[in-house]
């Protein structure tokens, strides 16, 4: 089992539901071929530093997964066949990269947690202020 990381850029013309479907499709390809998905990230619509296929923006998706080598070939074939994918990159993570990825995940999870906490705190504050106003 190796750890892999794959990033692909989808065309900016897709709707929310279509991007979800596209991500689901590639996740499905990985799991069907015996891979295990470790992490998925959506970076959202980002500006490209140079135009690709005359497009200046794109949706970025990152999937980290574990699996055997032959998955990559099927995955990349599917990337090439799908017209909605304008660019992709897949590579194997070495042990330092795996450690880095774990650290990065923990950091992102912590941030998301903090943000959620902050949001709930803000919501609580808001309700409290409403209460005090009512009083």
């Amino acid at each position: 089992m190796n750890s892999y990381e794959t990033v692909f850029i989808a065309t900016p013309v897709l709707s929310d539901a279509q991007t979800k479907e596209l991500l689901g499709k590639f996740q499905g390809i990985i799991t069907e071929n015996g891979g295990q998905i470790v992490n998925t990230e959506e970076w959202g619509l980002k500006k490209l530093e140079y135009p690709i296929q005359k497009k200046s923006t794109g949706f970025y998706f990152l999937i980290e997964f574990q699996g055997e080598g032959p998955i990559i070939e099927t995955l990349e074939t599917q990337y090439r066949r799908d017209e909605r994918v304008i660019r992709f990159l897949t590579f194997r993570l070495d042990k330092d990269a795996v450690a880095w990825a774990e650290k990065r995940r923990a950091k992102l999870a912590g941030k998301a947690h903090e943000a959620a906490n902050a949001a709930s705190a803000a919501a609580n504050n808001a309700t409290e202020t409403v209460k005090t106003e009512e009083e």
């Binding site: 990033v7 850029i9 490209l48 530093e49 140079y50 690709i52 794109g58 970025y60 660019r87 990159l89 590579f91 070495d94 330092d96 990269a97 450690a99 880095w100 990065r104």
Partner: protein, 90 residues
């Protein structure tokens, strides 16, 4: 008589002509083991204004990490996180 006197100019502080700052490898110093291609802002420290990779004789990066930086920059370029060619990047 006047010429030898003029040549004996004395300075209060020693001239700082060949006092150079020692370069160091920032990855070794900070203990970074993996160069992440996703962090385009960090990788820009290793590029010149045209987006070319700086040689390690200028940045001081060790050979081991120069290779990793180069790999990361190339990955970032492929994913359009960094430009291949540009002007006035900094």
């Amino acid at each position: 008589m006047a010429a030898p006197q003029q040549s004996e100019i004395r300075y209060l502080n020693p001239l700082s002509v060949d006092v150079k700052k020692k370069k160091y490898c920032r990855f070794k110093k900070l203990g970074i083991k993996y160069v992440d291609y996703k962090d385009a802002e960090f990788l820009k420290k290793f590029l010149n204004e045209q987006g070319k990779i700086l040689p390690r004789r200028l940045t001081g990066t060790s050979q081991k990490f120069q290779k990793k930086v180069a790999q990361a920059v190339k990955r970032a370029r492929h994913l359009a996180l960094l430009p291949f060619v540009t002007d006035m990047m900094k």
